[in-house]
Symmetry: C2
Subunit: 427 residues, 2 copies
């Protein structure tokens, strides 16, 4: 099945808006085993829209059109779709009623211009949009089935998943229930994860569970895209694979699905009525910045401190200068974490000390990270050498600090070798 | 002149990479008065590339092709370009020598696969790429002039500006030297800036200086795109317009061109051997996070503190509880800034205190921001009501904190009404 995508709108064509909708559409299709073959972007222009629709209608079996379903005069998708299909526009009374109810719920009268959004090409099949006024629809143009979607990202997403992908899978002769399971990990690169998970879907012989990755340093996302007759069928096939992924990636999994590393930390602290202090060097307060703004962090996050060197760090947490004597070491991190915990009156404190190597910034530039986590009962620490240039050392130090805290809260080993570390020359 | 863009590569077609190159190309062309009419994305596929080149060659006058010039087997642009133009591939000896020198400078032998990058369609004009091994080239296919560019963003950018835009402008019969002047401002929305700058380019009667905006809350970028015979001609036309923009936007301009608000602050502090302490509430350390990681900030940024409420803030800077008694007020911010300055041993300290309104987060949700800047000689403060929901209040508070510090360092009034403020109910 040849699938094409047509993106419309002057905002996208002029680059005022970066076309993230297209990337979303094509990624989502790929996850369920469908490939986009060709993409076209045109502006809000009658002649170009008509040509784009006709060309795609000649080449493709299925087309997804994004944008142009709004109430304004430059939204032309329904009109040009009707023209390309050689049919007229017809008022869809049901959609008009839906829109009127939509505005009524918001205690507003529907502006007359919105009526346009209920004018659909004759014979079009409605693609539901329960969260907006743009009515999606499907229609044959040439030899292809066209699916018209709204430009508003959240409306597009919902329509793509609930309405369009099931239709495309059915057209392709594929089972049409789908589910995406995601694992977020820190510390393993894509190639190692790929090797660790070799054959993990072999137990699902019909190929309906597909493994994929998305690397966005410092985290890696491991995806299991599953197709089935219904959610129960999917659950049955997916559960053993999920368990195997969890077993093989083990301690490196920081969160699953929509959860985040910082969210997991906040939950773990909240669950034990814990509170947190953070002291950072070189990371510019980015560790605090991941936790402090979260909803519910107000009761947990007590204090964050950032300073440029160990002398200032020690001064800030009330240690005397001598404590900084031997430089950035695990012992220094432990002292700082202990002092920061007492100072903030918190149950837990994290200290992240970073010392960059000398020399110019380049790909193999490295830094030493010493992390410590103090509680009322003990203090744990780790030392690590991170590589990849200043910015990568910073990103890595932030993530490693958060991850050590997660490991400590979950009772896992805090020091476990990760892929972004340099072999420690001093070890 | 009809311009089309063709983006190639499986990475872009599958959405693994969001197509920011296209947005860049079309924005850059728009800045000099050229419009892109049509964009096509295809994968690394012989048949689709050939069809895309032929279709664009029939429709367009000029085409920019992005990607496919690399050394690997899936880089097909030269080969398919030659096929579409009906010519053979010829080794470009000069480019081969360039590549060999490029590798020699890096003390490496050129891998044999790179030789492919010097194979160009017969009759192609070289488009220089001084920062990479991919050779750009221009070639006629059908009735259009095609310009082939590398997928690596910084190589594309350089080639677009130095090689392609001048050729397109010449083809269009436009003066071909170009320059983009940018002003970054905080506190004025796009519509007010548009009104303030009405007629600002009227003194340039031939329309060769064009005004534009790019809003990315909380900052606004005001752009002057100028065309001319040469840089001296541009300079002559642009200087009076620049001066008028500076006069009209006045104190709201935070930086120009590649400079940033935080960079301007760092420079101003460095120039007077100043040092800085920052205390933040609700902003999660984002003010510190803008300054602390900058090159050169090590000597200036002394300490950053973040805490969830005024009681914790006061404890952190060594003020007693009573200092928090009357809540988030300018006076409290002044006390905190003064104490923070002494504690950090800094010449300047910024305190940013935020109190959110009660209730659910929504578009008209607001917060009170009290900012103070203390020096050894005085302390200044301002109170502001920011609206737009929790996240916008946070972004606005960070920017306003930095902007007040800039204003203080530049001797400008710290409290000047901005467009994102709610009229103060208490004023």
């Amino acid at each position: 099945m040849r699938i094409e995508v047509i993106c419309t709108g002057d905002e996208v064509l002029t680059g005022k808006t970066v076309n993230t909708n297209f990337a979303y559409i094509t990624q989502k299709l790929e996850e369920v085993g469908l490939a986009v073959r060709w993409e076209t972007t045109v502006g809000d222009d009658r002649e170009d829209l008509l040509l784009a629709f006709r060309l795609a209608g000649e080449r493709a079996d299925a087309v997804i059109v994004n944008g142009g379903l709004g109430p304004t005069v430059d939204d032309l998708s329904q009109e040009i779709a009707a023209q390309a299909a050689g049919v007229g526009l017809v008022l869809n009374e049901a959609w008009l009623a839906r829109m009127e109810a939509y505005f009524a719920r918001r205690s507003r009268a529907m502006p007359p211009t919105n009526r346009k959004q209920a004018m659909l090409p004759a014979g079009a099949e409605v693609l539901d949009n329960p969260i907006g006024t743009a009515c999606g629809f499907a229609l044959d143009i040439g030899k292809a089935r066209f699916h018209f979607t709204p430009g508003v990202p959240r409306e597009l997403r919902r329509m793509l998943e609930a309405e369009i992908i099931p239709r495309l899978l059915a057209k392709q002769g594929m089972q049409s229930a789908i589910h995406l399971k995601r694992f977020h990990s820190f510390g393993i690169g894509e190639s190692r994860a790929d090797a660790l998970l070799a054959g993990v879907t072999d137990g699902v012989p019909d190929g309906t569970v597909k493994l994929g990755f998305r690397a966005h340093y410092p985290q890696l996302e491991t995806k299991l895209a599953a197709r089935g007759r219904d959610m129960e069928d999917i659950r049955r096939k997916l559960t053993p694979v999920e368990e195997e992924v969890r077993r093989r990636l083990g301690n490196f999994i920081v969160a699953e699905d929509d959860r985040t590393l910082e969210g997991v930390i906040l939950e773990a602290l909240s669950a034990r009525q814990g509170t947190l202090g953070v002291v950072e060097m070189f990371t510019g307060g980015q560790i605090a910045g991941r936790i402090a703004p979260l909803p519910g962090a107000q009761q947990v996050f007590r204090r964050g401190t950032v300073a440029p060197d160990l002398v200032e760090i020690c001064a800030a947490v009330g240690l005397d200068r001598a404590a900084a004597g031997d430089g950035v070491t695990p012992a220094a991190a432990e002292r700082v974490a202990g002092a920061a915990r007492l100072q903030a009156g918190a149950t837990h404190a994290l200290a992240a000390l970073v010392e960059l190597d000398e020399g110019a910034d380049r790909m193999d530039f490295a830094g030493t990270v010493c992390l410590a986590i103090a509680t009322a009962h003990d203090v744990v620490s780790r030392r690590s050498r991170l590589v990849g240039g200043r910015d990568w050392v910073r990103l890595g130090a932030v993530e490693m600090g958060l991850d050590c805290l997660r490991r400590r809260l979950q009772g896992l080993p805090v020091a476990e070798r990760i892929d972004f570390e340099k072999l420690d020359e001093r070890a």
